[in-house]
Amino acid sequence: MAGQKEIRNKASERMRYKLLHKFHDYKERFKTRHMCVGCGRCIHRCPEAISIVSTLEKMNNAIVKITNSNTQE
C-alpha cells in the first residue's frame, strides 16, 4: 500500500487470511466452490512443514468446541 504500509504484519495474521480465502471467503463471494481443490501440493512445498490439512482440522475442532460450549450454556 501507499507509504509502504502493511495491513497484516504477523505471519499468523497472513495464515488466517490465506485459510479464510481458500475455505470461506471465495465461496461466499462467488457462490461456486471452495478455492482449495485439495491437491496437497502446498504441504510438500511449505518450508516450515505446515500441513494445511491439520491446520484446517485444528480450526474445525476449535469451531466444534466453541459451538458445543455455546449450546451447553
Partner: protein, 267 residues
C-alpha cells in the same frame, strides 16, 4: 478474439504526455489513453519486467488520463524514471467509481487526507466546471506538512466556487489552517442542507475511520457517507483475492462503498 476468451491481463502501451512534479515524491503523469473511465475508478499501471501497481485515476480528459503517484516501491520508482514520450502500460479501468448521478443536485462535503485527494480530483473538477449540477460543494482537505501539498494550483482554483478548509496536520503556514481534518467537520452546518446532502471521505485508513465516526456524531445516515478504499490490488479482476476484506473483493465491489458497507469492512 471473441469477448469471452479475451485475455484481460494484457496491457496497452500508452504514451506519457507530460509529468507534473507536485512534490518531491508525488508526481502526476498525464498519459494518452483510449480507455473510457468513470470518476473514482482505478487502472493497473505496469512497467515490463518490473511489475504492476493499481493507481487511481486523478483526472479524465479527452483522450488522456492523469495518475498521481508517490515513489514508494519497485514499480513506482521505475515509473519515476520515465519522462514525457516514454510508454506506460495500462489495463482497466476497474472497480466501481463514484455514484455521480446520485451525487448531483445535492450539497456535497468532501473530506480528504493527503493523497486521498487524487481519487476525487476528477470529480471535483467535473463539479467545478458544472457548478450548477450540484447545490454546493464543501472541501475539507488535509496534508501532513507544507512539502506534501498536492495540486496547489487546483486547490487555489477551487476556492472561488467551493467552500474550502485546507489544513496541515502539525504545521502552520500563511493561508492554511492547522490541525486534523476531523476538527473541521463541526464547521459544516448540516441542518442547512435540508437532508439533501452526501459526504465523501477518502484518505488513509485511520483517517477514514475517525472521519466516519466524526460524521456519525452529527447523525448523518450511513447511506449518505461514501468512502473509497485503498488496497493493493494484484489482478483487479477478482481472481487473486489480495484486496479482499472478508468476502468483499475491493477490486470488484469497490473501491467506492457507502458507509453501510464500509463500516463493516474491518481488516
Amino acid at each position: 478474439m471473441t469477448q469471452q476468451n479475451k485475455n484481460h491481463m494484457i496491457p496497452t502501451a500508452c504514451k506519457i504526455i507530460s509529468v507534473v512534479k507536485e512534490t518531491d515524491i508525488e508526481w502526476t503523469f498525464r498519459v494518452e489513453s483510449p480507455f473510457k473511465a468513470n470518476h473514482g475508478q482505478f487502472m493497473q499501471l505496469s512497467v515490463p519486467k518490473i511489475g504492476e501497481a493499481p493507481i487511481s485515476i486523478s483526472e479524465i480528459g479527452d483522450g488522456y488520463m492523469d495518475f498521481t503517484l508517490r515513489a514508494v516501491g519497485k514499480v513506482t520508482n521505475e515509473i519515476f524514471e520515465k519522462q514525457a514520450g516514454d510508454f506506460l502500460f495500462l489495463r482497466g479501468p476497474y472497480g466501481n467509481g463514484w455514484p455521480v448521478e446520485e451525487l448531483k443536485d445535492k450539497h456535497l462535503v468532501f473530506i480528504t487526507g493527503g493523497t486521498g485527494l487524487a481519487p476525487v480530483r476528477s470529480l471535483l473538477n467535473e463539479f467545478y466546471n458544472n457548478i450548477s449540477s450540484v447545490k454546493s460543494v464543501t472541501l475539507i482537505s488535509g496534508f501532513k506538512n507544507k512539502e506534501s501539498i498536492l495540486f496547489k494550483d487546483e486547490l487555489k482554483k477551487w476556492q472561488d466556487k467551493f467552500k474550502t478548509f485546507y489544513t496541515l496536520d502539525n504545521e502552520s503556514i500563511e493561508g492554511w489552517n492547522s490541525g486534523l481534518v476531523t476538527n473541521f467537520v463541526k464547521e459544516i452546518d448540516f441542518n442547512s442542507f435540508e437532508d439533501n446532502y452526501a459526504a465523501i471521505v477518502v484518505g488513509p485508513p485511520i483517517m477514514m475511520k475517525f472521519a466516519g465516526l466524526e460524521l456519525k456524531k452529527y447523525n448523518i445516515p450511513d447511506e449518505k457517507i461514501w468512502m473509497s478504499f485503498e488496497r493493493k490490488m494484484s489482478c483487479a479482476i477478482g481472481k487473486c483475492g489480495h484486496c479482499r476484506i472478508d468476502e468483499t473483493y475491493i477490486c470488484l465491489d469497490g473501491p467506492v462503498f457507502p458507509y453501510t458497507v464500509a463500516k463493516n469492512l474491518v481488516d
